[in-house]
């Protein structure tokens, strides 16, 4: 049994919690966050289930570093390349933040594919989670488009010609392709407008769409609950696995709780 807290401690605790209580009473936000963080998941979720959160983390890193890069980047055909060189070579820690954003972009895409692979291999897209798979496909397409629009921004030879090729690939889509290509270029030819257009798409429109879709995705995850892995005896209606033998003691070893056998449901 914990020692009874001293009066002083109780007073301090009450003062510390007061702002949270204030917020909770007026918004219910604290309860919402607790509901989100401490919701029940099947006992046999594994590291594979963390890939979605890993993708989310990569996305948040892109958001943070991107916002700061935008403070130094100049979306103009005559200064874009120079401003990126400036960020890399002159601005304090610019090389680091740019590097995080550039490598993080690939990390984000790779994690998205790995998460999709885990959902596919676990059969987690089946009823009632089909809609979340569909939202996921939209997230994948939007995420790839974010990568495409960002690739032009350094405005060096690779960026320019890769974008030429990418736009022209879109141009070969039947019927609508030529119009799609003009829409992306902002005209019949790549010009000054193309860069500004890609910049706006890359930093405002597409991230906004991603945020909305991620919100919907997580809403469905919370509403439907995370699925058990396909090998789960619990999900197959069997008995829960017996409690593993007590591990060596460590920081995170859970205490046995009185009267509870097996894993908490």
């Amino acid at each position: 049994m914990a020692r009874r807290k001293s009066d002083r401690m109780q007073q301090i605790e009450r003062m510390a919690l007061y702002p949270l209580d204030w917020l909770e009473e007026r918004s219910g936000l604290i309860g919402g966050v607790r509901y989100f963080l401490f919701r029940k998941v099947p006992g046999d979720t594994s590291w594979w289930h963390t890939l979605g959160s890993a993708t989310l983390t990569a996305f948040l890193v892109q958001l943070a570093t991107g916002v700061i890069l935008a403070m130094y980047y100049k979306p103009d055909v005559n200064s874009a390349h120079e401003s990126v060189q400036h960020i890399t070579n002159d601005v304090w820690a610019g090389w680091l933040v740019r590097g995080m954003h550039r490598w993080g972009a690939s990390v984000f895409i790779i994690l998205m594919f790995m998460h999709m692979g885990r959902v596919f291999l676990f059969g987690a897209y089946k009823y009632p989670r089909e809609l979340n798979w569909i939202v996921g496909v939209l997230l994948l397409a939007t995420g790839l488009f974010e990568g495409l629009t960002g690739y032009l921004l350094p405005y060096d030879q690779t960026a320019y010609w890769a974008t030429v090729v990418a736009i022209n690939i879109n141009g070969t889509a039947p019927f609508v392709g030529p119009f799609l290509a003009s829409l992306l270029r902002g005209g019949a030819e790549i010009g000054p407008d193309t860069l500004a257009r890609f910049y706006s798409l890359h930093m405002l429109l597409v991230p906004g769409a991603l945020l909305g879709l991620i919100g919907l995705h997580l809403y469905l995850v919370v509403r439907l609950g995370v699925s058990s892995p396909p090998w789960s005896p619990e999900a197959a209606g069997g008995q829960p696995e017996p409690e593993p033998p007590p591990a060596r003691s460590g920081l995170v070893q859970p205490r046995p709780r009185a009267g509870v056998r097996g894993r908490p449901e």
Binding site: M15, V165, N168, I169, G171, T172, F179, A188, D193
Partner: protein
């Protein structure tokens, strides 16, 4: 007097803002102290739950009296019945919302989309006197197609003087945009940088580098290969290289718009060109695949 303040007014330094800050700090300190005292004493910590007052004539513990059984209750509507005013208000809200939404979004969407298709004006580039183009030799010409846009509009053409045809100068003017996906194709042979020329023309600076594309033209991106007339020989391109319209004005070679080419038979001045309107790279201009691209946006 233009300036209402006049020039005479003395510019005194504004009063210091420090007193305001000091008063603020004092207020924060006093209120903070009072608040902390309140919280510590528990004067605010609990909210007392009070039971809602009971309606008249309701026994404690009995279910609440429904609104339509109370005094001055409305007559119970038939199932599915709605009041006309209710329906009207709903339609008015939705209709007005749609109108306002349309008035706001349509121009904005048009602003984003239309400029990509309107005013795609034609170009004209002056490459300077035709005496700079030796008969039978290819020249790599680079120029700004839209000088006001600067470097982004730099384009390259492969120009060959074919001599005279029916008494008129004949030129082959090939665009370097690959017909696969638009990379810049290169001459398959030496370029003679030591013999390059920079010509000042009404269209700005034009650089002319003689070249000997013995193996035709080759694309660095995916290996598309073309012969000296721009016909596709190998690789992924779906047709020949585009060409520029050209004409002679005051002894200068002028390049106009580009057009697409399916195939060229014959060479030089005697070439027969199957000509089509300008089409994006990767799109067929003839054959059954061209049915996939019935419409082209304005170029």
């Amino acid at each position: 007097m233009d300036d209402p303040r006049g020039d005479m007014e003395r510019h005194e330094s504004p009063p210091s803002l420090w007193p305001v800050g000091a008063i603020g700090a004092a207020l924060v300190a006093v209120c903070g102290f009072l608040w902390a005292r309140d919280v510590v004493r528990g004067g605010r910590a609990t909210t007392v739950a009070t039971a809602p007052p009971l309606e008249e004539g309701r026994a404690p513990g009995a279910p609440p009296i429904p609104a339509d059984k109370g005094e001055a209750a409305m007559p119970e509507p038939a199932p599915g019945e709605r009041f006309p005013r209710n329906v009207f208000l709903e339609n008015a809200t939705l209709g007005l919302g749609a109108i306002i939404g349309g008035v706001v979004t349509l121009p904005v969407i048009g602003f984003a989309v239309m400029p990509a298709f309107l005013k795609q004006h034609s170009h004209e580039v002056d490459l300077g006197p035709i005496s700079n183009f030796q008969e039978g030799q290819y020249v790599v010409a680079t120029f700004l197609r839209e000088p006001s846009q600067g470097e982004v509009s730099r384009r390259t053409a492969f120009i060959r003087n074919n001599g005279l045809l029916h008494g008129k100068p004949s030129f082959t003017c090939i665009s370097n945009r690959c017909a696969h996906l638009g990379c810049p194709v290169q001459p398959g042979g030496p370029t003679f940088d030591d013999k390059s020329k920079t010509v000042k023309t009404p269209s700005g600076q034009v650089s002319l580098i003689p070249s000997l594309p013995a193996a035709g033209f080759i694309c660095p991106c995916h290996g598309g290969t073309y012969d000296q007339e721009g016909n596709r020989i190998a690789g992924p391109p779906v047709r020949g290289l585009d060409r520029f319209e050209f004409w002679i004005r005051n002894g200068n070679l002028i390049l106009g718009n580009t057009y697409s080419v399916a195939q060229v038979t014959g060479t030089g001045a005697n070439a027969e060109i199957k000509r089509y309107t300008l089409t994006g790279p990767g799109q067929h201009v003839d054959g059954i695949e061209s049915w996939l691209y019935p419409l082209q946006p304005p170029h």
